[in-house]
Structure formats: C-alpha cells, structure tokens
Symmetry: C2
Subunit: 193 residues, 2 copies
DNA sequence: CTCAAGTCTGTACGACCGTACACACTCGTC
DNA sequence: GACGAGTGTGTACGGTCGTACAGACTTGAG
C-alpha cells in the first residue's frame, strides 16, 4: 500500500512445517539429541531456514511445544464438550485415559519431553502451566472444581503408567475409579477453586 | 591370593560420587545439556574418570537413573511399611502426594527427566518399569491390587500438577480423594493382578 | 627397596553442533 | 523489460563435545 510489498512470505506455512518436523524429531530422538540439522532434514528445508524463522534452539523448542499444547488442549476440550451428561462426561474421561486416540505413543513421548524440558525453560514452563489449567477448565464443564482436580491428576498419572507397563490398561478398573471419584464429588472439598 | 592384588580400587566410592554428581547436573541442566565435563567438575574428578568408570554417556545416565530409582523405591516402601493400619496407610499415601519429603523439587525434576529419557533408552526403560512395579508392590501391602493401581496413578499424577501449579496442593482434597478410592476398593475390579 | 599389575588421568583429536552472514532469489511496482 | 526491498539459503567458522590412549601413579608381594 505504501509503495512496496511487505511481510509477504515466499513460502507460507513453512514455519508450521518446521515445527511439526521438530515435534517428530523430538518424539523420535528426545530433546537431548534434537538438532537443527535433524529438524531441517525432516522438514526438507535448508539449514539456514531454522535460524531465519527462529531465534535459536530454545525458541524453536518453545514454539514447538506451544503448538503441541495447543493441539492437545483442543482435542481435550472437544472430547469433553461432546459429552451431554455427567455419565457421558465420565465415559469421556475414561476415553482420555484409556483410548489410543488421545494418547498415542508419539503424543505421550512428546508430553514427557515437554514436562522434562519445562523445568529448564521459562517459556515452556508457562506453556505447560497453561495446558494444565486448560485441562482443568475443560473438566470443570461437567464436574466440581474438586472433582476436576482429582480427575485431572488421574488423567495425567494413569497414561503415564500405561506408557511403561507391558499390559494395556484395565478399562473396567479405570471406569470404576473415575465413578468413585465423581460419586464422592459433593463431599470433595474445594478449598481454593 | 593368586600372587598379586586384583580389583582393588584406589578410590572406593568414587563411582557413586560421580553418579550423585550426575544427578545434580541432570536436575539443574536437564539431560539435554548434561555433559561429561559438567559432571566431572561437579564431582571434582578428572574428566578421564568418567570414561574409565562408564561406557559412554548413555551408560552413565542409565546407572544414575538406576540409583535414583533405587533411592526413591526404598523411601517409598519404608513410608508404607511404617503404616500399621489402613487408615495410617491412607495417611502415608497422602503424605507421598503432598509431603515435601517425598517429592522435593530436585526429585520431581529428576523423575521427569527419567521418564522422558526412558523413551529413548532401553536400559532406563526397564529401570522405570521396575520402579513403577515396586511402587505398586509397596501399595499392595495395604490395598487390593485394583486400589493400588488407582492410587499409584494418583501418586504419579498429582505431584506432577503440583510441580507446575503456583499454588500448593489442597491437602484436604487429596485426603478425601484417596479415601474415596480406598472406600470404593471392594468394588474395584482386579481384572488382571 | 624393587617390581609388575592394575588403577587412574591429562591431553589431544575428530566429529558435530549452533550460528552468522554474504549472497541468490522472488515478486510487486513502475 | 528493469529495479529494489524484502525473503530465503549455502557455506564456513569458532566452539564444545565425547572419547581414545599413552603414560603417570598406587599398591601389595617378594
């Protein structure tokens, strides 16, 4: 408008492709052996692109994890939004814990990596905190704050065990545990939100 | 006995000091930026010692995490062994979730790092699996298998949230949730162990 | 003491990494 | 077509890393 074009990328969407490639590399190699070169190769972009779009490795990882967190939060919320009753919400929670849809092996690995890395990177730390808060907010659509907190802990902890156990989760046990917590709901104190 | 001495180290305990130093470095810097040199400096031993005692970085990390797992398992078991009744066992579980004794910031960070690294290292993967099994076995001293599994998930997941939340855990809520699960115990199926 | 056998270490090397930056390319404007 | 502002890239450099290894050191036996 003022004479010459501005800020018009030659290859739109490139940044996102790099972030997706980064998540792929992280899930396969772990943050500890993720490098610019591996990501560039995976995204099929030149090495220089990474320093062009991102301000160093820490920035790249932070944005990749932010993207992961966003994707997961959306899936999470959608799953709970689709529940029309408390009973359906309970089933949704069970699904989040047991179902392969929510926690693929890739996703679980990435979440582990994010939690670990968050302890050493301020930006990823707030991303993680935000993701946990959003989870709780989604649960709060159907449950009291106390129940939400308890279920959230369960949703975090149980797939974690599943990730390392050789046997699949016992769906009936999960269902009954969720129900026990929800049933105890009215008695669960909600000291602070 | 057969002529000359054998396998008598000049500096016994050195290996363990290196492993402790490694855990310090991991908790401070994360596996992703843990190096031989940082560990050597922290342990105040020459760089060459690390290659002398350990067969590469992966081996060093694996042994460090094995040491961590062992320490934690022992504390865990001791806490539950000291409970004389189901009520005391419940209190012990609450303590494990809320108490600062079990999950110091350093320990939580290390556990996160172990879980993340386990997905990329076979030896650490079995260490992690063993640690989870030992946790469940300790719980089984007081609870049915089903309840043990549910509580174990809670013990894993709740401190995880605590680690990133700004507010401390609501002890009353934890107590009541644990009680709800234990109370539901007889009804909790134990499909497979 | 002397002497091996075994324990340890200081140094150096090759590999790989992150990053900077000079240059090539693209495309709206004229 | 020519221009040039802004977009994107190939390469090369300094730095750090893991690791190998020649040799110094320790120690019990003779």
């Amino acid at each position: 408008m003022s004479g010459t074009r501005r800020e018009i990328p030659n290859d739109p969407g490139r940044k996102e492709r790099i972030l997706d490639a980064a998540l792929d590399v992280i899930s396969e190699c772990g943050v500890h052996s993720t490098t610019h070169r591996k990501i560039a190769a995976r995204a099929d972009v030149p090495l220089g692109s990474l320093t062009y779009y991102f301000d160093g490795m820490a920035d790249l990882l932070a944005q990749a994890f932010a993207r992961l967190s966003d994707t997961m939060s959306r899936l999470y919320r959608q799953t709970l939004l689709s529940a029309g009753s408390t009973a359906e919400a309970e089933a949704a929670v069970v699904e989040l814990i047991c179902g392969p849809a929510y926690a693929t092996e890739r996703d679980m690995t990435l979440i582990f990596e994010m939690y670990a890395y968050a302890n050493h990177n301020a930006a990823v730390s707030v991303t993680t905190r935000t993701w946990l808060e959003r989870s709780r907010d989604s649960l709060a659509l159907h449950f009291t704050p106390g129940v939400s907190r308890a279920l959230d802990a369960l949703i975090e902890g149980w797939p974690m065990h599943r990730a390392f156990a050789d046997a699949p989760l016992d769906r009936r046990l999960v269902t009954e545990t969720v129900h026990a917590i929800v049933t105890a709901g009215p008695r669960l104190s909600t000291d602070r939100a």
